[in-house]
Subunit: 107 residues, 2 copies
Amino acid sequence: MTAFTHYRDHVGSNPDKHFKAMLFQGSMMMVGLNCLEPGQNQPMHDHSSSDKVYIVMEGTGTFTIGEETREAGVGEVVWAKSGVAHGVENKGSTRLVALICIAPPPT
Amino acid sequence: MTAFTHYRDHVGSNPDKHFKAMLFQGSMMMVGLNCLEPGQNQPMHDHSSSDKVYIVMEGTGTFTIGEETREAGVGEVVWAKSGVAHGVENKGSTRLVALICIAPPPT
């Protein structure tokens, strides 16, 4: 199995809810993709025992992390420490693509 | 403390060796930056009990992961599972900037 991939090869969409893909998974971390079409959202949720990071690769998202809500665009890094509620909404006009790492991986 | 940052605000260089920055750290994961000027390298090493991922944000790098050596450019994701030796060399003519996540964080 190769250790190399391009995020773009994993982009997709789902008409009903945000699209998720898994790029790599180890015992300590999962690397994936969250894709949100305009108008879609990922409801607020938390991972009680995992740290998570979003890295915006395309588009913009309105992220809420705990009490903080901000729009983030390409190159921005958004941090959801374990136990902190987080969610994202795509209020833009193009697809939002964010790489995510979750450690340890969700079970 | 904000949960939002732009990777570009953490880019730097070091004439003697590759430049490292830390963006976020939790108990399960660290998010950082590796910046390599042309000609610089990060010698082969492994993290015996951490998974690591590189996400190339600028430039290109020649990555070796275990037995596999490949050049990776912007948008490529390079996976070094725990225990797998890895390193990178910048054979290009511009700075290589890679976001990295290490889980759990190095001690």
